[in-house]
């Protein structure tokens, strides 16, 4: 078999989209393109949702129709035509390939370097897998342990059917339907996602991750996640994976809502490595995500993200620090190469007394990419003794890329303590020289320095993720130095 190159893949993907556009009914699970009230109803019906959910979606759709696509972000892209997208397609049951030999060797090489097991590689690349696969049984064991503790972890459609009170109580409370254009779109058409509930006082014994959920129904492009940590509970949730995901969907508009009740702690980690487009900047995924968490008394939400993929990223994981003594954290690494564009950051809204927030953002831009940090720290008048520390560092490689910082700081309380600092620099020649002198070649030296630069964030990732993320940084920046 001849080498399957990036361009072939692109062609492949293009053809696929083409197929999509004109195919409607080969598998009854794919809807016709376009979006209207009937489609929203149909999605809801397909999911066997109760009437209140259908109404909720329709309401969101109503808002969405009145909204404009936002254009304030520091990114340029061709706006997707929302009437040319098929809003529901169940994951194809047919595997893409029959064996690993057919998969793009470049992809396999990346897997190998990231240290992903063969079974997982198969899954990630879309290869047909044996029914008795390790992780399936692992998944079952996991489920058992979780059930014993009373933890609910399932797909959101399942939750809507099985636990309607919980969903009804919390869905849309943090990110309302009318919050923004993409959130409204997501609320109207979300296909699936995950739901997680940790009961009072329970410490979730393992990292909940999408890794093993991959077996279950795929989540599609409009993912909806709802995590509820009841009083004094703890959960660490991982989303995405380090492996390059060759998703053919152009547009991803996900919504994540976190609810930390009194004394609870949620740690949410994301590694995103979607198809960033080819070296000329063609293709690639648009990633428009709304992520927000609300902290009640004495609770804590911590966002950690490593963003290396997607052609356009538009993402601001935020914390509403409503309860007294609550804590919000945001740790981010955003790497852009070639023609990628990222506009990412966070919002920390301080409402309660003695609330604390920390923002550490590291941006690395190479090639012809644009990397922006956009953040808001808001101290409301009743938030006495609020404390914020923000640090945004950017690293530039080459003079064709750009690094931007747009912090907004608003303080309405005199007892607020806010510090913000940002720096922009390049990798020092002396640092590289130092490494070279000790027999480390330039490429490795850069990886070393970049790792050092991002260490504060990498340290916050769960262990196994951190190792992979570190390698991922290395791979993403490959060939960017010249």
């Amino acid at each position: 078999m001849s080498k399957f190159t990036e361009d072939d893949l692109k062609k492949d993907l293009e053809n696929k989209e083409y197929e999509y556009g004109f195919y409607t009914n080969i598998e009854s699970d794919t809807f016709p393109i376009g979006l209207n009230e009937d489609i929203v109803r149909a999605i809801s019906k397909k999911k066997e949702e109760p009437e209140w959910m259908t109404q909720w979606r329709l309401e969101a759709f109503k808002y969405w129709k009145q909204m404009q696509e936002p254009d304030w972000a520091n990114v340029n892209y061709e706006k997707p035509d929302f009437q040319k997208i098929s809003y529901y397609s169940a994951p194809s049951k047919k595997p893409k390939y029959d064996s690993l030999d057919e998969v793009d060797p470049e992809l396999l090489d990346t897997f190998k370097r990231l240290g992903i097991s063969i079974d997982e590689q198969k899954k990630l690349a879309g290869v047909a897998v044996d029914i008795v696969m390790d992780s399936v049984s692992v998944a079952t064991t996991f489920k058992k342990t979780l059930a014993e503790k009373g933890i609910i972890f399932c797909s959101i459609s399942e939750a809507i059917r099985e636990y309607p009170e919980l969903v009804k109580k919390y869905l849309g409370t943090v990110v309302p339907q009318q919050d923004n254009f993409y959130a409204a779109l997501n609320s109207a058409v979300f296909s699936d996602g995950s739901f997680c509930y940790i009961p009072k006082g329970v410490r979730c014994p393992m990292e909940l991750s999408t890794y093993f959920r991959i077996n279950q129904a795929g989540t599609g492009q409009f993912e909806r996640t709802l995590v509820i940590a009841d009083e004094d509970s703890y959960v660490s949730y991982l989303e995405g994976c380090t492996a390059p995901s060759r998703d053919e969907n152009q547009l991803h508009a996900a919504v994540v809502e976190l609810i930390a009740l009194d004394g609870a702690e949620i740690k949410y980690s994301t590694v995103q490595n979607w198809y960033p487009g080819n070296k000329e900047g063609k293709g690639g995924v648009y990633n428009f995500v709304t992520k927000r968490g609300i902290c009640h008394k004495n609770s804590k939400i911590s966002w950690t993200q490593v963003e290396t993929g997607s052609a356009v990223t538009w993402k601001y994981p935020s914390c509403i620090l409503k309860g007294d003594n609550s804590v919000g954290e945001f740790y981010s690494i955003a790497v852009t190469n070639n023609y990628q564009q990222a506009d990412t950051g966070t919002k920390m809204i301080h409402l309660g007394k003695n609330t604390k927030s920390t923002i550490i953002s590291k941006g690395i831009s190479a090639g012809k990419s644009q990397n922006s940090y956009r953040g808001l720290v808001q101290i409301h008048s009743r938030a006495h003794n609020a404390r914020n520390f923000s640090q945004c560092d950017s690293l530039l490689m080459g003079n064709k890329c750009g690094a931007h910082t747009f912090p907004y700081i608003e303080a309405k309380n005199k007892s607020a303590h806010i510090e913000h600092e940002a720096t922009t620099s390049k990798i020092g020649e002396d640092q590289i020289f130092y490494c070279n002198q000790r027999g480390i070649d330039t490429e490795k030296a850069i990886a070393l320095i970049v790792n050092g630069f991002s260490k504060e964030v990498l340290n916050k990732l769960p262990m196994e993720f951190a190792v992979e993320a570190q390698k991922l940084l290395e791979i993403s920046l490959e060939g960017s130095v010249g």
Binding site: K400, H404, I409, E410, H417, E419
Partner: protein
């Protein structure tokens, strides 16, 4: 009738008495058109997100003063830095006051824009510089349309101006509400040195609205030291737009002292077009009651090996609002830039608000850019230290305020001005601390 409509109709009357069909006139027409399209900026615009002009433009301002007003020297002497040791260009209600001014044509021009715009001997300079770097936004355009009077300063090459130049705009308030639109043009030739102090002063409690635009051109190795003293009456509002173009190896510094006024908006833009430029932007804001100050700075690095340094301090009491929006823009070709931006704020009272937005936009890789922004209170330990040595609470706080503002004050190069500002700060803070800082 809204102020905008009034201005638009006033323009037609104004136009008739103008210089005829000159290029300047065309410029005015174009500018007026832009203003007509855009109107006064609103909070919906990103650049005006934190500043609303509604409370200012609601008044019924007279756009042209109906008659000339005189002020007595004894009433305004306290606003001058020196009686004789400075050049002065003084305007009363927007009209030049030859009685109060001290201008010169001796080897340099320190005179009036109205003269420069009308007399042919200045036409070469006007053509080369007038309205060349002013932004095309709505308030600057409005000023361009009505630009008639202001300071015209031309310093030829190798000339060091021996004493500071004061540009002072008085408003007498004999009108019930007055709008003024001064326009200054300052050209500093190669190797020339100049120090300028600009001041807007209302002598009345009636509302005054000033929309001032200043263009400054610093040629090669020119040295410009500019001070803005903004300590106006509580009913005076000021929109100040200053644009500075710097050529190779020039050095420009602007200090802004915002201590009074109802609403003050400072748009300060630096364009570094030559190598090895140095720009300094510093400011102190001390506000009270319902005052509002908005510092909007832009440093555009367009050439390599340049330095910019920004340092803004704010002390906000009462229900005042402070805004700092600083932007450092580094273009692709501007390598080896060192840009520094610092904004520190202290909120003194519960109802005070500060909104800060320090931005960096960087397209070159070999640069050193950093910014820092803090919001905090007095250091409790430092206060305790002072009080344990028998210094009263208020005095201790005042001392700390001085220390806080001192990094900005220390680079003021005119000793008399420094002394005055120190005194102003002391009255502002409300204590006398018995020694000079």
């Amino acid at each position: 009738m809204s102020l905008k409509d009034k201005l638009v109709s006033a323009y037609f009357a104004f136009e008739d008495n103008l210089e005829g069909n000159s290029p300047i006139h065309k410029m005015r027409n174009k500018a007026m058109k832009r203003f007509e399209e855009k109107g006064f900026p609103t909070k919906k615009e990103e650049a005006w997100k934190y500043t609303s002009l509604n409370s200012v433009i609601k008044h019924d301002y007279s756009i042209f003063p109906t008659r000339e007003h005189n002020v007595e020297l004894k009433d305004v002497r306290k606003f001058f830095l020196h009686d004789i040791d400075t050049f002065k260009i003084v305007f009363v209600d927007g009209i030049y006051s030859s009685f109060l001014s001290e201008t010169t044509h001796d080897n340099m021009d320190i005179c009036l824009l109205s003269a420069a715009l009308s007399k042919p001997k200045y036409s070469a300079v006007i053509e080369a510089y007038f309205n060349k770097i002013a932004q095309k936004d709505s308030i600057t355009s409005l000023n361009t349309a009505f630009a008639k009077e202001g300071a015209y300063i031309y310093i030829p090459r190798n000339k060091e101006v021996e004493k500071p130049i004061e540009i002072i705009n008085f408003a007498t308030g004999n009108e019930s509400a007055l709008m003024m639109q001064p326009r200054n043009l300052i050209v500093v030739g190669e190797n020339a040195h100049v120090q300028i102090i600009e001041r807007h002063q209302s002598l009345t409690e009636n509302p005054v609205f000033t929309n001032s635009v200043t263009e400054i051109f610093a040629e090669k190795r020119a040295f410009v030291d500019y001070y803005k003293v903004q300590n106006d009456k509580p009913n005076a509002s000021l929109l100040d737009s200053t644009f500075i173009n710097q050529d190779t190896e020039s050095n420009c510094a602007v200090h802004t002292f915002s201590l009074g006024g109802k609403l003050t908006r400072n748009n300060l833009h630096f364009y570094q077009t030559g190598n090895h430029c140095e720009s300094t932007l510093k400011g102190i804001s001390i506000l009270n009651n319902k005052q509002h100050v908005d510092h909007h700075t832009l440093v555009k690095h367009q050439a390599p090996h340049c330095v910019s340094h920004q340092d803004y301090k704010g002390l906000y009491g009462g229900a005042s609002t402070g805004v700092f929006n600083g932007k450092v823009f580094v273009e692709k070709q501007a390598q080896k830039i060192n840009a520094y931006q610092q904004n520190d704020n202290i909120l003194i009272d519960d109802k005070a608000t500060i909104n800060a937005k320090p931005q960096l936009e960087i397209f070159a890789d070999d640069v050193k850019c950093s910014h820092g922004c803090t919001i905090g209170q007095f250091d409790e330990d430092a206060l305790f230290y002072l009080r344990s040595r028998g210094i009263g609470k208020k005095e201790a706080q005042a001392l700390l305020m001085y220390a806080f503002a001192n990094t900005v004050l220390e680079s003021v190069k005119i000793p008399e001005l420094k002394r005055r500002i120190n005194k102003l700060l002391a009255t502002k803070i409300g204590v006398s601390i018995g020694f000079n800082v």
